[in-house]
């Protein structure tokens, strides 16, 4: 087998890989959206004064955080059907990624809320704000900029973990590259291209997150070193 990088072959398979990239971006986007929402639900569960729910949510979060995503994917996709719950590869993948990264985002949110000084709550009380209003206008706007770097990290994190979805048959980029490679008995070009495509998408995403952070902070009158 020829070992040099074959540009003509790379060019030939590029359209196929780009189409699969659309699926990868879609999977990362949907997964992230679900994670953002599930993270909020976990956070609410952790902060409720209802003790049993509170403990339950804490344990669930700890459990999910302490087991690998791949095992969770397999469990949901291959084990749940034995209990009568059958999900398509896409639904299973999105839910599992959402759940898994939801626990991380929950921690990001928690840290951000705790990053707002307690004295802000006191100022709100002294001005007689309701607690809902305190959250909405005073606490959350200050917590958001603190959460942006963490939220950005996990957006890129989810994106880079989407190849795991290939193991349950979601037709994303890595899945497509493996298929192309297997068909032509050449893996050098497809896998190299997968790496390059991930790089090309990850770097702008990271830059965009950093810009967003700066912009939000600036809008709030803060200066960033």
């Amino acid at each position: 087998m020829e070992m040099a990088f074959r540009w003509d072959f790379a060019y030939e398979i590029l359209p196929k890989l780009l189409w699969a990239t659309v699926n990868t971006i879609l999977a990362a986007g949907i997964g992230y959206l679900i994670a953002v929402i599930i993270g909020l639900l976990f956070l609410l569960g952790q902060r409720t004064s209802f003790k049993i729910l509170n403990m339950l949510v804490r344990e669930i979060v700890e459990f999910i955080r302490s087991t690998p995503l791949l095992i969770q994917l397999f469990f949901v996709y291959f084990v749940l059907p034995q209990f009568g719950i059958t999900l398509s590869a896409w639904v299973c993948g999105m839910l599992t990624i959402g759940l898994h990264f939801g626990t991380y985002l929950c921690e990001v949110y928690r840290g951000a809320l705790e990053g707002v000084p307690k004295t802000q709550w006191e100022a709100c009380k002294a001005l007689n704000f309701s607690s809902l209003y305190t959250y909405r206008r005073i606490i959350l706007p200050q917590a958001f900029p603190i959460a942006i770097p963490g939220m950005g990290n996990y957006l890129v994190g989810i994106f880079k973990d989407t190849p795991l979805l290939s193991t349950i048959g979601v037709a994303e980029l890595f899945h497509a590259a493996t298929a192309v490679g297997g068909y032509n008995y050449r893996y050098l070009e497809p896998y190299t291209m997968v790496g390059v495509i991930f790089l090309v998408l990850s770097i702008p995403a990271a830059i965009w997150v950093r810009r967003l952070e700066k912009r939000v902070n600036k809008a709030q009158g803060k200066t960033i070193k």
């Binding site: 004295t119 006191e122 002294a126 001005l127 200050q142 009158g221």
Partner: protein, 261 residues
Amino acid sequence: MAQTNEPIVKFSEVTKRYGDLVVLDKLDLEIKKNEMISIIGPSGSGKTTVLRVLMTLEKINSGVIYVDGEPLTHMLSSGELIEANEKYLRERRSKIGMVFQQFNLFPHMTALQNCIEAPMQVLGMNKEAAEERALELLELVGLSDKKDQHPSRLSGGQQQRVAIARALAMRPKVMLLDEITSALDPEVVGEVLNVIRSLNKEYSLTMIMVTHQMGFAREISDRVCFFTEGKILEQGPPEKLLDDPKNERTKQFLHAVLDAN
């Protein structure tokens, strides 16, 4: 200052504990309308706690606090006083305003926004009226030209003056000032004290001030209370308490403070 005899704030056997530590020990304290009170004492004597429980930032363990003739920490339920719920507290708390040692301005809002949020949201004022009032108050504290600045662009003294305007915008009857110059650079302490001076002259406000500024306390207060171990050990008009204290512990404290200066 004109004073009536009816107390606007009354502490009745108020006790506050943190675990085993007794911070307020069956405190009795009456404050008359428009009275200007200074609370002095060593750290850990419970003087800041007096303000914090009055602002309902902390709950008391026993006793009752009355504001304007009605209980603040408790409410009447079928003839008995029970612990107040949040709804009742929100109603009663509106008579009290507080300025903090660390200013606690909202960093994501401009000076003007800091001053109109609560009047609009809590008092239900419309934006024009709230802004008009806020501008008057910013003028009063000498900062109308800084109205569009965020707190991070203001000096400590300026931030504290905005905080005073913000508290005044809620039209409190009682103002609590918690060591409001302690976090400031020495050269800007004067500008904040000047604002308090003019408030004392132009507004009919009851003020309770925890302070280490003995000179200022002497100049402005109607009464000075010396706190130690959660109680008032000695109180009286400033010239009496500060120049001729009766109690040995008060003498010691004043000596220590004057030596430090």
